[in-house]
């Protein structure tokens, strides 16, 4: 299987007035298409930073991040418009917080990425309705995020990440803000949806139970990725 993501010698340094803080150093990672990669690590180790870089949200200090078939997207060279296109067509993002648009209904939140990408509204709505059916909140499709429970919001977020048929799903602590029961449900749902739609998943989590569901597992140690074996269970 070909690689969908190739990271080479990635370095990320934050420079403030008084100090330079290197979060990621000489980090290398290859993610094969269809794989489910899990990254774990201590708080502040740089897991979310890595995901933000891959999501085009944060900038690279040095190194290369190539995403897409044949490294179509070189993240250090994309301008704002290209990054938008990259996020729209290649990525599905799930955050720890649901990050749904508060004035849009569940259905609108799910179809919005497709609508932004130019899919006709009716088609986008149908697709969104099917995804909401898949994640089990179809009945709540006309409710605003404020009218949904935490678990339901995260289900909507999972559905939204899949609407544009992305190649890669980036999930940053998707269960981090949920109670254990809901975390278990959302974790299972995430993996089942990724499996169903045959997507590549890059998951960052503290939750070892969730991490165990993935395939390759890595741990960030001193800014570098090391292979890790998940032992035990629980969060």
């Amino acid at each position: 299987m070909s690689n969908i993501l190739e990271i080479k010698d990635l370095e990320k340094t934050y420079v403030s007035d008084s100090e330079r803080l290197t979060i990621l150093k000489n980090l290398n990672l290859s993610v094969a298409e269809g794989s489910k990669v899990v990254i774990v690590g201590e708080s502040g180790s740089g897991k979310s930073t890595l995901l933000n870089i891959i999501g085009g949200i944060d900038k690279i200090t040095s190194g290369t991040v190539l995403a897409g078939p044949d490294g179509k997207y070189n993240l250090s060279k994309l301008d704002e418009g290209e990054i938008a296109e990259y996020r729209s067509s290649f990525l599905g993002l799930i955050f720890q917080f649901h990050y749904l648009l508060k004035d849009f209904t569940a259905l609108e939140n799910v179809y919005m990425p497709a609508f932004i990408a130019g899919v006709p509204k009716k088609e986008a709505e149908e697709k969104a309705a099917a995804l909401l059916q898949d994640v089990g909140v179809y009945d709540r499709r006309n409710h605003l995020p404020s009218q949904l429970s935490g678990g339901e919001r995260q289900r909507v977020a999972v559905a939204r990440s899949l609407i544009n048929n992305p190649s890669l799903i980036l999930a940053d602590e998707p269960t981090g803000n949920l109670d254990p029961a809901n975390a278990q449900l959302i974790g299972d749902l995430l993996f089942s949806m990724v499996e169903k739609y045959n997507k590549t998943l890059l998951l960052v989590t503290h939750d070892l139970t969730l991490a165990k569901k993935g395939g390759n597992c890595f741990k960030i140690v001193k800014g570098r990725l090391e292979s890790a074996e998940i032992k035990g269970s629980g969060r």
Partner: protein, 446 residues
């Protein structure tokens, strides 16, 4: 980001479903209200100044000079006798486009009424001018008396005159009253006054007091018989189909070519150049001030959009994380700003038009209210009620007695387009800033 998705986001900015209590949204509605309020006086001022200028122009052209005015040399022998003068003027009708000719002798004089005297302009014209000339018959209204005695008089024995309303008020004249006119005659190089008595046949008003305060109309024959013409000027008002037609220049040129030896021909815009320049500059100044008000109101839109961007940073970041482009986000905020401008326009325009159409009633109402308050204040201070002068908001000494309203639809369309364009311009900077928001900082802080 597609146009439709930008519209959808803009709609959620203006009509949010979740949080109704938003200070940015309140500012947005406030800006809309300000635009609406600023549009009202702009439309009213435009409509009134247009009507006022049109009304004054019509009166000045129609009653004072007509479309072309001929200045005849007093040395011309045809000016020495009324019928000869009339016949001479009739020749101008041979020029294509000349509809009517009205010979006139104009003399500056002093009029003495019951208690006071005032400077006047005697206008000696054909007796039939009040019924024959379109402008005279339409623009003069008879306040007192009738024009029959004026038109049917025997100029050999009778001296009927028609006077302007304002002058009649100043000289305390009424129908049938006699007043004296003093002109200057020169005998052997010595100047002496010549007194003539005239009887008031009718008191007329053109609605423009500046004109009504000056004019006394007498028949052409009476001028030759009863007053001194030592300082008289001889003119002919020449009526043509349209005051604003380019054909006027052609008629003027032909008249000059045929009769230019003893006569100068001037178009109305040349005769009254100073007045019209004054009208135009006043209108430009007023409209400029009103546009400044709209401009200041538009700046509120900019402030509201700045607040909206600050309030909606999270939504901007979320949209960017799902593929929205900076230009798409910018466009959403620009649409919001323009909608605000358009909303203000939709709110203000009907009120402006309504106020313009009812300008006379509104001014009267305000005048009554101001006078009632002022009267109450003076009475409380102990000033006797009969000593209190009424306050006139629009003194007819300077304006027309009734405000003529002329809705300038082309200019209103221009205002509407300019307001929306202005709303767009003031929204650009905060909207571009919204498009440049970095999602990372916002999502981290959220």
């Amino acid at each position: 980001m597609t146009f439709k998705s930008s519209l959808m986001f803009a709609k959620s900015l203006i009509f949010p479903k979740a949080e109704k209590k938003s200070s940015a949204r309140r500012s947005l509605w406030g800006a809309l209200l300000c635009i609406g309020l600023s549009i009202v006086p702009l439309v009213v001022v435009l409509s009134i100044t247009n009507g006022m200028i049109q009304g004054m122009t019509d009166r000045i052209i129609g009653l004072s000079s007509n479309n072309i005015q001929a200045y005849v040399s007093p040395k011309l022998k045809d000016t020495q006798q009324a019928q000869a003068y009339r016949d001479y003027a009739e020749q101008f009708k041979t020029v294509d486009g000349v509809l009517g000719v009205y010979p006139e002798i104009s003399v500056t004089a002093l009029a003495a009424g019951k208690k006071m005297r005032t400077g006047i302009q005697i206008r000696a014209l054909n007796k039939e001018i009040f019924s024959q000339n379109k402008a005279f018959s339409e623009l003069f209204s008879i306040i007192e008396g009738d024009i029959q005695s004026f038109q049917n008089q025997n100029e050999e024995t009778e001296t009927w005159a028609i006077v302007g309303q304002k002058m009649a008020e100043m000289l305390e004249l009424h129908e049938g009253d006699t007043f004296r006119v003093i002109t200057i005659k020169t005998i052997d190089g010595k100047q002496s006054p010549k007194l003539t008595s005239f009887k008031v046949s009718a008191i007329v008003s053109s609605g423009y007091q500046e004109l009504d305060a000056l004019w006394v109309f007498i028949p052409l024959e009476s001028a030759y018989k009863f007053i001194s013409l030592a300082n008289a000027s001889y003119t002919v008002m020449i009526e043509t189909p349209d005051s604003y037609s380019p054909d006027l220049v052609r008629i003027q040129k032909e008249l000059k070519a045929d009769y230019g030896k003893y006569i100068n021909f001037y178009r109305w815009d040349q005769v009254h150049a100073a007045e019209f320049e004054n009208f135009s500059s006043t209108k430009v100044m007023l409209v400029f001030i009103m546009i400044l008000i709209v401009l200041v109101a538009s700046i509120n839109i900019s402030s509201a959009i700045i607040m909206l961007v600050m309030e909606r940073k999270k939504e901007i970041a979320i949209l960017k994380s799902i593929g929205a482009t900076p230009s798409g986000i910018t466009f959403s905020f620009i649409i919001t700003g323009m909608t605000c401008g358009l909303g203000g326009l939709i709110l203000g325009l009907p009120f402006g038009l309504l106020a313009a159409v009812n300008a006379n009633q509104i001014v009267q109402f305000i005048e009554k209210a101001v006078n009632a308050i002022a009267r109450a204040g003076y009475v409380l201070k102990g000033v006797p009620a009969d000593e209190i002068n009424a306050i006139r908001l629009m003194d007819p000494a300077y304006y027309l007695q009734t405000i003529p309203v002329d809705l300038p639809f082309a200019q209103i369309i221009l205002i509407s387009l300019s307001t929306v364009l202005l709303a767009l311009l003031v929204s650009v900077i905060p909207s571009v800033k919204a498009g440049k928001e970095k999602p990372l900082d916002i999502l981290r802080k959220a």
